[in-house]
Symmetry: C2
Subunit: 405 residues, 2 copies
């Protein structure tokens, strides 16, 4: 029983800097959500907790606009939500069309391959939406395709793809659709039943403005049938929907112990979903749109150009080109150090070329937009660029004043 | 863009009842940990967050008593910690000896089989520790065994197995060891380097008294070598240690984005590990032992018998037989409804036969022990049993007074 490793010295409780989060997530949490997170823990089998789980399922069905019975929150980050979809629906030998126009399409390909499937890759340039014609061609060329997977809202670029069209193409060929809505849910329309989509996952820390670490998911009846018809056991115990179901959706309310749910994070998710429901989805979408318009008006004044063409632009994820000659990392460092403002860098082929400005959930508000425009102008001016921060803020302000809400 | 699913009515912010958590986990959180959880979210790539991750690694090495470089917290419940060990270390065709003396050994078998391995099952009665002789026999009968997996502290029964002996048997045959320390870490000695164990996982919500949803893990150099020598890609993107490593332990501190870390839960984990370090492991173990002795003195007075023999009994998880003729579920319901006290039920073959009383982390304190004895005596007396709650509490109190600490 001897202690070999002595207690480390010099480590104490850590204060955390107060940041404004305008990167690609996590977003600022509303004080009500923070308060919910800090409620005393209760047992995951406590009747009070089980009631709350039922409400979370109902609230998520509203957020996803679906009547799917199998709608719940996976106890893990969005990546676990993604993996839950693929590990349950892809079997060895299955052919899956995966659309890649950013980081997360690439991750989908990894998922298909790791579960023994064959990925037919439909490529689009980063910053472009997925081209439905290429998907149609791929489906025609691969009649044995089992599923079509795509990212509705690419967090790495800010491009939104036409989910309704892509899902329709898949359905017309009898394929399932697997859709990433991590960055779209709560910020821009996600209409699961209207689209007819089959397996949809999202994240808690984007437009829901909840604590990171939960992945809302929903599965259609067709997806559940595919799951029931599997030839092999799901190669994961934790993510096997058959087992999770007995915990989240047991018939008659009799729950089988599966794992210890992250109760505090679920308190926070419940609160953020209540807030979304009280605001109303249409109002939440309009709010994201409004703050995007204001930010865009300011960016226009500053001479910043968007990566994504206007009709495919996500209001909640604004990728703009770094002006020529500017050290983009130095700008981000100054924004963080001087203004405690976090924005996002470019990823992959866009590294060093773009910044990503998130306006997600509670981060989508006028204070943030104006702080961002003023701070960015100040930093760029300090680097010798001729930019007018006051004019940029005034342009944003005009959008707010002119918008009768 | 039409809303089909209307906002649900009648769902509002939920108050949460204040419970005393003396079940098998989650345990009560210390107010310092709750306060840490509610700190404002910051980005998972923020320098302030990255520094904290480094400290968490150091603090976990102390808690696990190891110098393993690969020591971090998986972003998921303990079950994901388990699956991370098995999915990385078991390949199709691998033979793994799994010791089953409760629920979690059974889950290990599922893990081995789902990743294509063959499980050689060593059975012991629920409530007994793993018999090292049976493991030695299994190793002799299966010289092609690749790993030995067992649960150090069976949460479903409260039995502690001799981890040092079991790991030694595995090592002597050139096998890796995979060890579940979900319920032991911080409550009873977990000496990873002294044991020579290879892949160890735990949970945040037991004796660390942190929020549920994180799984501390540590891997030996031997385990990392096995990982590097894999013939196939790990059949999981999220749990592939090769990828996670680039995020948690990138050389030169250059981190690759992997997933959005559950930052608030990690704030809480950092705080709970600082508290454990400040208390000192030996003191934390002694505290769990002390409250166990007090609870046991009270149970003796009430005539309650332990499931596990004395030398294998976990101080932090006390399974006792339900007295003959008592409706055990009614007792638990009364404890919850009248005293807001949560205790655990029996699982599997022990369902209806035992109760499980947790004394984990911040739940291991005199107030809880005395509340539990008094409340349980009151409920049992109401059911007609001749039990003396005052005498039980006095017996517990004598342990506290007599123990010079």
């Amino acid at each position: 029983m001897t202690i070999r490793i002595l207690p480390p010295t010099g480590i104490t409780s850590r204060p955390v800097p107060s940041r404004v989060l305008m990167g690609p997530g996590p977003s600022d949490m509303h004080p009500r959500v923070v308060a919910a997170l800090g409620r005393p823990a209760i047992g995951h089998l406590d009747p009070a907790f089980v009631e709350m789980m039922e409400e979370i399922k109902i609230l998520l069905r509203y957020a996803f606009q679906t009547e799917n019975a199998l709608t719940f929150a996976v106890s893990g980050p969005g990546s676990v939500g993604m993996e839950t979809c693929f590990v349950n629906l892809v079997e060895p030998g299955d052919k899956v069309i995966v659309c890649r126009n950013g980081v997360f399409g690439g991750r989908m390909i990894e998922n298909v391959q790791r579960f023994g499937g064959t990925a037919v890759i439909v490529e689009d340039t980063w910053g472009e939406p997925v081209d439905p014609q290429k998907v149609a061609d791929a489906l025609n060329a691969n009649p044995d395709t089992k599923a079509v997977a795509f990212v509705h809202a690419e967090t790495s670029t800010g491009a939104q793809s036409d989910a309704a069209a892509l899902v329709r193409l898949a359905r017309d060929k009898g394929c399932l659709s697997i859709v990433d809505t991590v960055t779209s849910l709560g910020g821009t329309p996600v209409l699961v039943d209207a689209w007819g989509a089959d397996a949809i996952y999202s994240g808690s820390q984007k437009c829901l403005s909840c604590v990171p670490g939960l992945a809302p998911v929903t599965f259609s009846e067709r997806a559940v049938e595919r799951l029931k018809a599997r030839r092999q056991k799901v190669p994961s115990w934790f993510m096997d929907l058959g087992l999770v179901l007995e915990y989240w959706s047991a018939p008659g309310g009799k729950r089988t112990y599966h794992h210890t749910a992250p109760v505090n994070s679920l308190f926070a998710l419940h609160e953020s979903l209540v807030m979304l429901k009280d605001e109303g989805l249409e109002n939440a979408w309009a709010r994201h749109r409004l703050h995007h318009e204001a930010l865009k008006a300011g960016f226009d004044v500053l001479g910043l150009k968007f990566l994504v063409r206007e009709d495919a632009r996500l209001p909640q994820l604004n990728a703009v080109y770094v002006p020529a000659g500017v050290d983009e990392a130095a700008v981000r460092k100054q924004l963080l150090d001087r203004f405690s403002l976090e924005i996002g860098a470019g990823l992959g082929p866009l590294a060093g070329k773009v910044w990503r400005f998130g306006l997600m959930g509670h981060s989508a508000r006028a204070d943030n937009v104006k702080l961002c425009l003023g701070a960015l102008a100040k930093v760029l001016a300090g680097m010798g660029l001729a930019v007018d921060g006051d004019a940029a803020i005034a342009a944003a302000q005009r959008i707010y004043i002119d918008t009768v809400r």
